[in-house]
Subunit: 409 residues, 4 copies
């Protein structure tokens, strides 16, 4: 009997459909041959260099378009199959490099959110353009995920929004700024902008619109210098009386909270999935290293304490992937997505990625700390995910509010 | 917009098939109307009372036969559907009472293992009889899950097995004992016995056979008095020259390690699933209580710290269930089950059940500690699962060995 | 060279003074010869039996008086030495039995709090009497540790207190009840009562007084049936126009919050210390068992995974004890005790006790779950401590408020 | 009443002696005025720049000599007072910068180990020279902390040592290399070298000697480029027939295991203490930031979830410091130090530093990830400590072996 079973690329994976298998293979090859080699180089560059003319970044973005995963292509599939394909593809990309996989994801966000809003015209407009999601603001980090104000102290004022739109005739006029945490902002051509609306002399949440970033009045900050996911640029976008055609409006105040809910339910699952790819990469590196590194006359995989720790990494990666898939498949098939499920997936998978990256680094001993190996970068990338797309603590508070059964209180 | 979404009974569950839904409903009703009321009473009885003549135990076991979940019924389904049905059914039962759900499971083990061995005659023989799995021995707690000896120190002797069979003509003669940890032993009518074989003057692992427990020479110890899962009886079985017809043999030495592997891969997933049911019960009790209990003028579900903790319970229950399902579905569809997946599910789900039960109890404050509420029983039941069906630590060591890629070392 | 060093009874203990050593030895002997044998018996009794006429409880309480640790004796020492002696004594007692050590502690509380209030007359009055601390109320579990209302939602009403005193001439008249969580209530002769005061038609926090429990109008509930610390009785006290002489008043509204602060700072450290004793008992049992239990031909202490886990238990016990001592010694020498330190000690030590008890039980495998060994009782006792004397979560919220620097906000 | 108490610099600290207070103040000022400003700059330099001519490193090392903490000065104190002074001083330095505090520590190691060996001549020789501890080897990472071979598989060969000494007349001849993990190697003038001895044609553990690094035949690798503690240089030292006078010998084979034991017992406590300084710095930054950062109209310290998390950081820092002090004070006063205590302190404090740094970073939200704030550097520094001076897992395995009671097995 075989006491051990070799698992597929993505572990405890039931047989994939032919198309799923094809996408997985294609993305895996792209991750291995293109993303991984570029990844280490981009990590070492300054933020300016990484988005500069000579950076491999640009070629990779172009390459990624060729993967056939555009929003329009995706919309042709049934929701469940679309969801599965996106997750399978994205895990491979993140296995290659978390930051670049994140870039490929945020580029699609304006199109994805247009699709959520049912605006196919804007989907078409965004197709093929680099994108970003402009929601978080300097004075309203976690407030933006909470349009109902459930997380604020009861008598606490919201304070001034940093970015405000108003509607004048067939124009939306935008003023203010989004914070430095907008992923992909520096390289984006279009932005899915979520901001407050000035109406009758007061500002309310809110509007969602697609802003072409080459409009007059748009400027950008400098790219952020940060711990991890360094190949994913982040920075401010400033708006000075930017005039956007009304046709670019995806939602007004009546639909705002709903679109935030759906957008977050979508985004959280995808960020969770990137974290699964990171966690798996860390686990695989450690497993490989344990087969190669010898101490005391034998490969350390035969040291009981080492294989015990590897097992727990395997276990955590599988649990995280299982939850991400389950939450995503629920959302794809239910009448309404469950944001608490998406948050659960995001919190679990990012926490897993950080733990597994740290445990994997530990298997490398001192080598894990040096820039010669990939482990210290994976740790930095994974750590970043605990904050990206919503601090896990703020998300969990939001998730807690969603558990209240309004029929019972 | 609805800021919250009511989830189905089993959380982030994609639409069930009609049959799955029927089974879930039936088992849920049985759990609510039969298991829960009996559960508290059985917990307070002495072990002897709980299996005595006046105990509700017997009626429940008979009732359970009526659920239509016998091994023979299950074998008529496709493997994937069979697996899903069993998990869905079993989670509801464990939600009702972990110990009784465990009883219903172990009763089927002789039939299930006969099926794994491809012996339909023994499946038929076991049908309708209360059963148990006789594997663990007093001096070989975790050794029995490790027939290859991977977990033993290199030069450590195995020591004398406590139970040995030998084959004489068309009889298998069994002598010795199985340890007090055999679940269901006290009430079992048949036992799937896994033990060493005496052959040419030495004992080797091993044989598997179905032993009718009314044979001459079989006696039993007294039922164990223990912390949790008290409605699941456990105790020793002693064999004094017990003669079993050779037709009851499921596996000899050549198939032994293989059948242990498959049996464990099957059993671990099911125990994991019971733990999911326990964890969910604890979470639901805490969620309910948080809606009812008022402090400082409002239900404690509105205390931020309480709903934050509830969210993390929800998150863990979903992650555990997702992993159990994923591992089980992999095993149902792969050419060979992945034991490391089953172990991952067992370790994760039982650890989750213990954590969630403890966190849920904490929501009840002092009430959680009293016998008037269900929480302290759930904590005891959940704690028991960290050892039942293999200590989590021994299982994780075993799981670690299964990660070794023999082509690479 | 000796690769191992045998440590003193309490681990990494710097040399004790002669008196400290004497107290440790005396209490250790008492714990071993008296408390441990009674402990298992008391655990198995019903709550009524445990405080009934035939129970060993009464003799033990009398015996404990002979240890020379009364409040009056303690007050003769310098604060630092007094604190050290009490902790050293109490750890040994809790090592013997957590519940009985808790009883010995709560018996002294009325005297201790009288001393904190500077009322030596009441110290003398309480000397030699069994006591209890009546603070928690049915509708105000955690409110009582928060007289300033820092933990309540800003606009949430306090609601009706369950127990109210009013002052009439030279009498204090008490009406209402304290909740079932009052430790030692059933057997107490005196109670340190902390409750609201009715004054000018409204109730305010509060008053502290010493109530002799044989006064007319005092009745008691029945002893609580609970998970752990079963030798420590708990139950309600009801007050029906109970008249207490004004000389029994320890604090009025002006001193109330201050005395609650000091009482909690004192009590939390002592409960923390009991938890250290429990944790150490669990660790020692597991260490012993690992030397005796053989698997695979060798004592399991030689299984690397077992000794690794034992090391982490050792490490946690030492960290908990170190923190308890540090917090207590700070409080004994500082101008004002730091309640955040006491809470830190309580949360850390009780969490440690629960973790270590669970890990220790796991070393015993199946034996850990049976009533034949002490481990399942230790787990239950340790779990109870996470709620006793303040839920750890509520305490941590309180501790968080104490970190605010009022000069900076 | 004051509901909050301002604590001293090092938290729950009982009153310091006059000298302790003076040392703490001096070191705190040095840390604040010298180390912190240099720290960020050194972190951003390449490893070569950081030890290059223009680096602030050199001036700081010279400055540090002026703190009066040399080994010779320390030896004039009683062991307990010496230990306390060193810990108090070192925590402040690490609070300023972990890497530079580490440098100041490793510089003293040759002198400290000479003192442990009772060789005052070598203490004097090392005084005022930058030093390092040459023990770890490329093929023997954790082997060097285990001269008895307790952690190796029973039949596993040790393999070739990478560095070997032999004694010829009044010379010790050294050949081979120490690994890149030798802290301070690049800048060291003297090395406390621990290596195997060639004797009668075989190599045995081992010898300890003080090697002046300006001797012919000594060369060094290039400084390591690594995740954290970047101001602490690390690199290989190569020995090519280096001739060291026999007077530099601190221990031969008979004393070797003993000196390793004492050295490790000493070093582990000091590394633990550095981690306490790091953890405290992270906690203080987060506490400060929580007073300044406003969200929803109030400083986030008033957000219940934030102050709750801060409390747990406070609690962990105090527990780690308490354990480090307790272990160190035990070692300073016992007949023989308890290495298990030093390891417990190292594992606990470094794990605490990593957790607290990560939790503190999380309080900063996105700002925590940028290079503009100190948090991401603190996280990297803290992570490094889990491996520096012995992987925590290898140390815990070693600690487990030390728990075996040889009288009982």
């Amino acid at each position: 009997m075989k006491s051990s079973t070799k698992l597929p690329l993505t572990g405890l994976e039931s047989p994939l459909s032919e198309m799923e298998q094809l996408v997985q293979d294609t993305c895996h090859r792209f991750a291995e041959e293109v993303l991984r080699p570029a990844s280490a180089a981009l990590d070492k560059m300054t933020p300016e260099e990484a988005v500069g003319a000579g950076s491999p970044f640009w070629e990779i973005m172009q390459h990624a378009q060729g993967l056939g995963l555009s929003v329009q292509a995706m919309l042709e599939m049934e929701p469940l199959e679309r969801t599965r394909i996106m997750l399978i593809a994205s895990e491979e990309l993140a296995w290659g490099d978390g930051g670049l996989a994140g870039m490929i994801l945020v580029n699609q966000m304006p199109g994805m959110y247009s699709a959520l809003a049912g605006n196919l015209e804007m989907v078409a407009f965004c197709e093929g353009k680099l994108g970003c999601w402009g929601i978080t603001e300097p004075d309203h980090g976690s407030d933006m995920i909470d349009p109902e104000g459930n997380l604020r102290a009861k008598d606490a004022p919201y304070g001034r929004p940093n970015c405000v739109a108003r509607i004048e005739g067939d124009k939306i006029i935008v003023n203010g700024q989004k914070s430095a945490w907008v992923s992909g902002a520096i390289t984006a051509q279009v932005c899915a902008l979520y901001c407050h609306l000035e109406e009758n002399g007061r500002t309310v949440p809110g509007v969602v619109l697609i802003v072409p970033l080459d409009l007059p009045g748009v400027t950008k900050g400098k790219p952020l210098d940060k711990l991890g996911l360094r190949s994913l640029n982040q920075g401010e976008i400033y708006f000075d009386n930017v005039e956007v055609p009304i046709a670019h409006l995806l939602a007004g105040p009546d639909q705002y909270a709903d679109l935030v809910y759906h957008s977050l339910a979508e985004a959280n699952v995808h960020v969770a999935n990137l974290a699964v790819g990171l966690a798996r990469a860390a686990y695989e590196h450690a497993l490989d290293y344990a087969h190669q590194r010898k101490q005391g006359g034998q490969a350390i995989i035969h040291h009981q304490n080492v294989s015990y720790r590897l097992f727990h990494m395997f276990r955590k990666v599988e649990a995280a992937r299982a939850l991400v898939r389950r939450a995503a498949e629920y959302n794809a098939t239910a009448r309404q997505p469950a944001l608490q499920g998406s948050i659960a997936a995001k919190v679990t998978a990012t926490q897993t990625a950080f733990e597994v990256a740290s445990e994997a680094l530990q298997i490398f001993g001192g080598n894990g700390l040096t820039k010669e190996y990939q482990m210290e970068k994976l740790l930095r990338d994974a750590r970043t995910c605990l904050i990206a797309d919503g601090c896990n603590e703020a998300l969990a508070l939001k998730g807690g509010v969603l558990l209240v059964d309004r029929d019972k209180v």
